[in-house]
């Protein structure tokens, strides 16, 4: 058991998961496996240059293993080479680093996420008997300058293509900003009206914006809207029946896996790999799509959120319906 410094570099603030789930999970696992190790946490606020600074800085602070969720997957290649040149191990986290082989890759599959939410929506539409030739879906992607958003977008494209429904219009939301998504969706509502049969939104924030747009246009019921991240706000909307699905990514699992790998690397062991992606030994976790039907099972029963967190105020009624206590 060698103690050492491990750095955990996260990319942005677009959702709270990094500070609410990933880092605490990582930290907890590290404390368990290697109580004497130092863990450095940094968040790059979606700024590539800042991430580079943070990367350099943790090297100066003597990090031996760096867990990197790159702001820009391709630009991160140079960081990996820089670190490897000094004998520092890099674990690609959440987003792959295709340009340069990292020492390990653990993730939920972003493209898979996109595909999953889209497919889930498609299936829902089919079940409801919505004809494929009438109307179509809106697609709200993430930030045009965010590489992860690009992966999700590709996945959504795949999912929709498989479902056979048309896409009416598509939008890259600058900065993932919900108000922008809302504004855009409002425009599409005046444009297409009842032709909109559903919305594939790349995360819960933009999905929430789309729901707000439908509500504001007085459309009832709101067509099914997807999400991703399983934020409390989104879970509540699902409970209330306003949002169709989201993705539960209990990031703690991935974070714990990363911690495991990191400790092994510190000890000079070679961690086992389930598969190889981008030439990198990898471990991928499959996220679960959460809808009203399986919310209790996926979220409450797995202890990701408690009923007390979700069932506040007006959501209590929906909770009762779903049997959440």
């Amino acid at each position: 058991q060698t103690a050492g410094t491990v750095a955990f570099l996260m990319p942005d603030q677009a959702s709270t998961r990094y500070e609410q789930h990933d880092f605490p999970g990582f930290k907890a696992e590290m404390t368990k496996l290697c109580p004497d190790c130092t863990v450095i946490y940094q968040n790059a606020n979606a700024d590539v240059a800042l991430q580079q600074q943070q990367f350099n800085s943790v090297i100066t602070q003597g990090a031996k293993v760096i867990v990197l969720d790159p702001v820009d997957s391709s630009a991160a290649a140079s960081l990996v080479s820089l670190a490897q040149a000094q004998g520092i191990k890099v674990i690609a986290y959440d987003r792959p680093i295709p340009g340069k082989t990292a020492d390990y890759y653990v993730s939920f599959d972003n493209q898979g996420i996109g595909k999953a939410i889209a497919e889930s929506l498609m299936n829902h539409l089919k079940q409801m008997g919505v004809p494929t030739d009438k109307g179509g879906v809106l697609q709200i992607n993430g930030s045009p300058t965010d590489a992860a958003a690009g992966l999700i977008k590709d996945g959504i494209h795949e999912g929709i293509a498989a479902g056979g429904y048309k896409t009416l219009a598509e939008f890259d939301t600058p900065d993932w900003a919900p108000p922008k998504a809302q504004e855009w969706a409002s425009g599409q509502i005046t444009r297409f009206g009842a032709d909109i049969i559903g919305v594939v939104a790349a995360n819960d924030g933009t999905g929430g914006g789309a729901i707000a747009a439908f509500k504001a246009a007085g459309i009832d019921p709101v067509p099914p809207v997807t999400g991703n991240d399983a934020t409390i706000a989104a879970l509540q909307l699902i409970i209330a029946g306003d949002q169709y699905n989201t993705i539960s990514k209990p990031s703690e699992i991935v974070a714990a896996a990363a911690a495991n790998v990191a400790v092994k690397m510190l000890n000079g062991e070679t961690p086992a790999a389930e598969m190889t992606l981008y030439d990198t030994p990898s471990q991928l976790f499959v996220p679960a799509v959460v809808t009203r039907e399986n919310l209790k099972a996926e979220i409450i029963d797995k202890g990701i959120n408690t009923a007390a967190e979700l069932c506040t105020g007006r959501y209590a009624e929906g909770c009762d319906e779903l049997g959440i206590k």
Partner: protein
């Protein structure tokens, strides 16, 4: 000759008609003529921006007729209101030649406070709103004292504020990320659905014309009594009825769709109040004076410090209020609220509407006009299927075009020696 009669002899002509060099317009034709003269010499106030707006509108309508549909315009008005209120605050600081880069974060903090206090803590809504606005007042007061006591440029202090407030916003929302405001609550309805009854909207549309007519006639009367030229009654009636007719027409059209949003009504109401305050009160006069020449204002006995405090406080308070409104509009207090281009949009709205970045020139209407220009572009582009790269390029181009008309008009004013 040795008798010292004051030179102001009982004026045979009206006081302001004594100079032979000034040409005066009389009657309706005169009013119309002097209007065209002003057009020619470029002395047009907000007209060029309106022309720019009309150009944008026609282009977008020709690309997608949905743009001019009543319901789309109603959406536009809803969207204008939130950033518009922020821009109104920006006008106050720009009037002094200062800037506030933190309005975005401030609005984010405002919306976070609503989420945390009202939704999570169960504080009554009015108290939560009051808390948000008070928070704005405090922040504004801090900026003002950094500016007046330490002479710190507002660019730097508000940049620090931007970061600090953003941190505060993240901190408040940290555990949950974003907080849903309950759909169906009055607050969310106000931000999304509440429309004026038709009769109220018509009444409000008529009001400006009537007020203009009434105050105009009263001023004429006073001026006549005071031996000043009263101006043309015909021109006044023409102006008042043109405004009334225009507004009623717009309201009629909006009422063929969903109607006029109360939220927009609130925004316009704030603009009117600020316009009154800036143009018709001693405070507004002092604001303009300090913005034009702070030293001269100081020497005239104006408390420059108090003016700064009021401007910065108003700005941050409006920003907080804008945040409250945007949380209502989005039905959510999110971590992204107020980030991105809210700052730039709010400042750009004020500038596009004609408020100078260098102080001393500006008016409350510029917030309204400017934000309509910006939101029209954004809204018009949502109706076209464009890739992000094209969308950005076109937004840039259209924005430039909207302002070119104004710039050309101003240019002609300069070349006519009325800079």
């Amino acid at each position: 000759m040795s008798n010292d009669i004051p030179v102001a002899k009982p004026a045979p002509t009206q006081l302001d008609r004594s100079d032979v060099r000034v040409s005066h317009a009389t009657g309706i034709s005169g009013a119309v003529g002097s209007f065209f003269n002003r057009v020619k010499s470029g002395d047009l106030g907000s007209l060029p921006v309106v022309v720019g707006l009309l150009i944008i509108w026609s282009v977008f309508t020709s690309l997608n007729p949905v743009f001019l549909s009543a319901n789309n315009l109603v959406n536009l008005l809803f969207d204008c209101s939130t950033v518009g209120v922020i821009a109104l605050g920006i006008v106050c600081v720009l009037m002094l030649g200062e800037i506030d880069l933190s309005v975005g974060s401030m609005s984010g903090v405002g919306s976070a406070l609503i989420g945390v206090l009202w939704v999570n803590q169960g504080v009554p809504l009015p108290l939560a709103i009051a808390a948000a606005v008070t928070m704005g007042a405090i922040v504004g007061a801090i900026y003002a004292s950094l500016r007046t006591r330490l002479g710190m440029p507002s660019f730097v202090s508000t940049l620090s504020g931007l970061l600090a407030l953003l941190g505060l916003q993240l901190y408040m929302l940290g555990s949950t990320g974003s907080i849903n405001l309950p759909y169906g609550s009055g607050m969310v309805n106000f931000g999304q659905l509440m429309i004026m009854p038709a009769w109220v909207s018509y009444l409000l549309a008529l009001l400006p014309g009537l007020v203009i007519l009434y105050t105009g006639l009263r001023a004429m009367d006073q001026r006549r009594n005071a031996n000043l030229t009263p101006g043309s009654t015909g021109g006044l009636v023409l102006k008042a009825s043109a405004i009334a007719a225009g507004l009623v027409g717009i309201v009629f059209y909006l009422n063929t769709g969903r109607g006029v949003p109360w939220m927009f009504g609130l925004f316009v109401g704030l603009v009117v109040v600020m316009n009154y305050a800036l143009t018709r009160t001693k405070w507004g006069r002092s604001m303009t004076a300090v913005g034009g020449n702070a030293e001269a204002a100081r020497r005239a006995g104006i408390s420059v410090r108090r003016i700064y405090i009021s401007a910065f406080m108003l700005c941050s308070m409006f920003a907080a209020l804008g945040g409250v409104l945007s949380s209502a509009r989005l039905a959510s207090a999110s971590q992204q609220a107020g980030t991105g281009d809210v700052n730039l949009n709010a400042i750009a709205a004020a500038v596009i509407g004609g408020t100078s970045l260098f102080g001393g020139r500006g008016n409350a209407w510029s917030a309204l006009l400017g934000i309509i220009v910006i939101q029209s572009i954004a809204n018009g582009l949502t109706l076209l299927n464009l890739s992000s790269s094209l969308r950005y390029m076109i937004t840039g181009g259209v924005l430039a075009i909207a302002v070119i008309v104004d710039s050309l008009a101003r240019q002609s004013r300069v070349s006519h020696g009325r800079a």
